[in-house]
C-alpha cells in the first residue's frame, strides 16, 4: 500500500499526452536550441548543464517512482557509484573516460539487478528504507575508502574524451547534455507508450489486477529498477567528468531525497514534469542565494507550499490549468482555413 495509496496520478489531459509525445519532444528540442540566447556567460551555461544532468536522472527515476509506483531513496547511491566508478577507472587505472563511463554504468546495472532482486519484494516504506540503507552504505564506503576515492574531500576526475578528443568547454558540454536529455526523454516516453510501459503503470494501479493479466510484477519492477539505475549512473559519471571533481556528497542520503523531491515536485508520472522539477529545484537555490540566511527557510517554504497547493506536482497542475485553453487554441487554429 503505502506509497501507491492515495491519489494516483490521473490520466486526464490525455489528448494533450498524445500530442505531447511528439510535439513535446520537439518543444523540448526547441527550448534547448534557443536557451543559449538567454545564457550570457559560462556560469549560466553551468547551471543549464547541471539542470540537464539532473533532469536525466529524474527522467529515469520517474519511470520507477512515477510510473511503476516504486519508491527509491537510494538513487544517489547509483549516481555516486557511476561517478566514482568511472572516475576511478579513468584516474587510477588510465582507462579512456568513455570506456570507464560505459564500464561503470554496466557495473551499476549489474549491482542494481543483484540488490533489486531481494529488496523489490518489499513494499512502500519498507522499500524506501531498504533503498535508503543501500544509499547510505554506498556513501559511507565512498567516504571511508579514501585511498581509492579521496575520502570525503573527493577526488579529481579526468575530462571526458570521445575518440581521443577531449570534451571541454561549457558550450560543448551544453550541447552534449542537451542531446542526451532529448534522447533520455525520447527513450522514456517510448517505454511508457509500449506494452511494457502499460504493464508498469498497471503494477502501480493494482498489483493484483496486473498479476491476473499475466504481468510478472517482480520481473518488471526489477527491470525498471535497473533502467532507472542506469540513467542515474550514466548521469553521475557524466557529472563527474564534466565537473572534473566528485565528492561523496553526491552519493548521500540528502542527494537521494533531493532527486525524489525533484520528481514529485515536477509531477509524478510525467516525463516533462521530471524535467521541470529538476530545472526548478536546480536553479531555485541560485536565485535564493541572494537571501543569504533566509535561503533555507525560503526553500523549505517553497517546497511545502507547492506540494500543499499543487499536490500533483507542477507539470500536471499546469497542464490541467492550461490544457483547456490550449485545446481551445488548437481547435481555433484548425477551424481557420489554411
Amino acid at each position: 500500500m503505502a506509497f501507491s495509496a492515495g491519489a494516483l496520478p490521473s490520466a486526464s489531459s490525455k489528448a494533450l499526452a498524445g500530442l505531447a509525445r511528439r510535439k513535446g519532444l520537439a518543444a523540448l528540442a526547441l527550448a534547448i536550441a534557443l536557451l543559449p540566447l538567454a545564457l550570457p556567460n559560462n556560469y549560466t551555461y553551468e547551471i543549464a548543464i547541471l539542470v540537464g544532468l539532473n533532469a536525466i536522472v529524474c527522467v529515469g527515476l520517474n519511470l520507477l517512482v512515477g510510473y511503476a509506483g516504486q519508491i527509491s531513496l537510494g538513487h544517489a547511491g547509483f549516481f555516486g557509484l557511476g561517478a566514482y566508478g568511472s572516475a576511478i577507472l579513468a584516474a587510477r587505472y588510465g582507462w579512456p573516460p568513455l570506456a570507464s563511463l560505459a564500464a561503470a554504468t554496466a557495473a551499476v546495472a549489474l549491482l542494481a539487478w543483484a540488490i533489486g532482486r531481494p529488496i523489490l519484494r518489499l513494499r512502500g516504506h519498507y522499500l524506501a528504507m531498504a533503498t535508503l540503507g543501500f544509499g547510505i552504505i554506498v556513501s559511507i564506503v565512498l567516504a571511508t575508502e579514501d585511498r581509492i576515492t579521496g575520502g570525503p574531500d573527493g577526488m579529481a576526475v579526468p575530462p571526458l574524451t570521445v575518440l581521443g578528443f577531449a570534451v571541454s568547454g561549457e558550450k560543448t558540454w551544453y550541447w552534449l547534455v542537451g542531446a542526451l536529455l532529448i534522447a533520455s526523454v525520447w527513450v522514456a516516453q517510448n517505454l511508457i507508450a509500449s506494452p511494457r510501459g502499460r504493464a508498469l503503470r498497471a503494477l502501480h494501479g493494482s498489483e493484483f489486477a496486473a498479476g491476473a493479466l499475466g504481468i510478472d510484477a517482480a520481473r518488471h519492477k526489477l527491470s525498471i529498477f535497473v533502467v532507472s539505475a542506469v540513467f542515474a549512473a550514466a548521469a553521475g559519471a557524466l557529472t563527474a567528468h564534466y565537473a572534473g571533481f566528485i565528492t561523496p556528497a553526491k552519493a548521500s542520503f540528502l542527494h537521494s531525497i533531493e532527486l525524489v523531491t525533484m520528481v514529485v515536485f515536477g509531477g509524478m508520472a510525467s516525463t516533462y514534469g521530471a524535467v521541470l522539477g529538476a530545472a526548478v529545484l536546480t536553479t531555485l537555490p541560485q536565485f535564493l542565494t541572494v537571501f543569504k540566511e533566509y535561503e533555507m527557510v525560503l526553500l523549505g517554504a517553497v517546497m511545502m507550499l507547492t506540494m500543499i497547493f499543487m499536490p500533483q506536482g507542477l507539470a500536471p497542475t499546469l497542464a490541467r490549468a492550461l490544457g483547456p485553453a490550449l485545446e481551445k487554441l488548437l481547435a481555433a487554429a484548425r477551424r481557420k482555413p489554411v
Binding site: 550570457p40 547541471l50 574531500d153 579529481a156 556528497a249
Partner: protein, 378 residues
Amino acid sequence: MNFRTLLAIGGLSIAFSAPAQEPIRVGSFLAVTGPAAFLGDPEQKTLELYIEKLNAAGGLLGRKFQLFAYDSAGDAEKARGYVKRLIEQDKVDVIVGGSTTGETMAAVPLAEAAGTPFISLAGAVVIVEPVKKWVFKTPHTDRMACEKVFVDMRARGATKAALISGSGGFDRSMRAECLKVAAKNGIQIVADESYGAGDTDMTAQLTKIKNTAGVQAVLNAGFGQGPAIVTKNYRQIGISAPLYQSHGVASKQYVKLSGDAAEGVRLPAAALLVADTLPDSDPQKKVVTGYKRDFEGRFKQEVSTFGGHAYDGLMLAVEAIRRAGSTNKAAVRDALESIRGYVGTGGVVNMSAQDHMGLDLSAFRMLEVRNGDWMLVK
C-alpha cells in the same frame, strides 16, 4: 540585435560611464550553512566586517571594495557553480574563500583555468602541494598539526599513540596525514578508530582504545560537537593517557562544551586563541588582539581561528593588490607569491614560488586547557 549584443552594450556603457570608481571585486564562497557552518559563519562575518572597514578607510588605489559572497553549504558542486558565477558573471579580481577542502579542490581547476588569484581558507595540504599557480591558502595544514602534536608527544615521553577521528573531510584528511608522518616523528599509531557525523556517544571507540595495550597518548582529529563528546567520554571511562585535539576545535566553544573534562587537553593552534596572554614582545600580539577586539566588538561572539583565516586571506589579497598597484590578475598573483614577513592571525607568512601557504611549524602554538581557558604551553 540579439540578447547578447544588448548585454554587451549594457556592459560597455557601464564601463565607460564610471571607469575610475570601478570597485575592487572580492569574491567569496563559504560554507555559511550546512555541517561546516561553524567555519563559514565566522569567515563570512569577518569578510563583511573588514570590507566595510577597508571602505570606511577609503578603500585602496582610490577604489572601494565590493564583496560577492555565496553560501556553498559545504557542497563541492555548489561551490563549483558559485566559483563559476564569481569568475564569469561577477568578474571578481580575487577569490578569498572555500571553507572546506572539498569545496576548495572543486574550485581549484576553475581558478587555474580562468587565471584568478584564489586564497583558500581550508586546511588540507593537497591544496598547496603540489603548488598550483593561482592557488594560495592561509590556514596551517593538517600535516603541520600532526607534526606539532607528535613533537609534543615525544617531548612528554610518549611513542605509542591512538587516533580517533570523525568522518568528515577535515577529519579523514588529518587522519591520513597523521598516519603518513607518524613514523617520521617517532610515533607508532597503535589504534585507529572513527565516529560518524551526528554520533552521540563514542564510549565504544574509546573503550577499545583504552583496552589497546601500550597507548601513551590519544589524538582526536575532528571538529564540531564530536571532539567535545570524545573529551567527555574520555574522562567518563577514565583513560589516563594525555588527550590531544586538533586545530579543528580551536575555539573557546570547545572548552565551554566539554566543561571540566577538557582540563589538560592540548592542541596546536594559532596565537589568536591566546591573544590576551601573549607577551607584548610577540610579533603577532598586535594583529591578533586587534582582530579579536574588532570581531568580538561587532558580533558579540568569541573569535575562532577560522574567522582569523578569512582575515588573513583578505589582508593578503589587499596587500598583494597594493603591491601590484592594480587588480591585474597576473600582477596580483606575482605579488602574492612575493609576500614575505606578513604578520597575520595564523602566523608570519613567507610566501614563495615553492610555498603558497608560507607558514612553518612555529606558527602553531601548543595550547593546553587550564581552569577553563587556553594557556600557552611553554
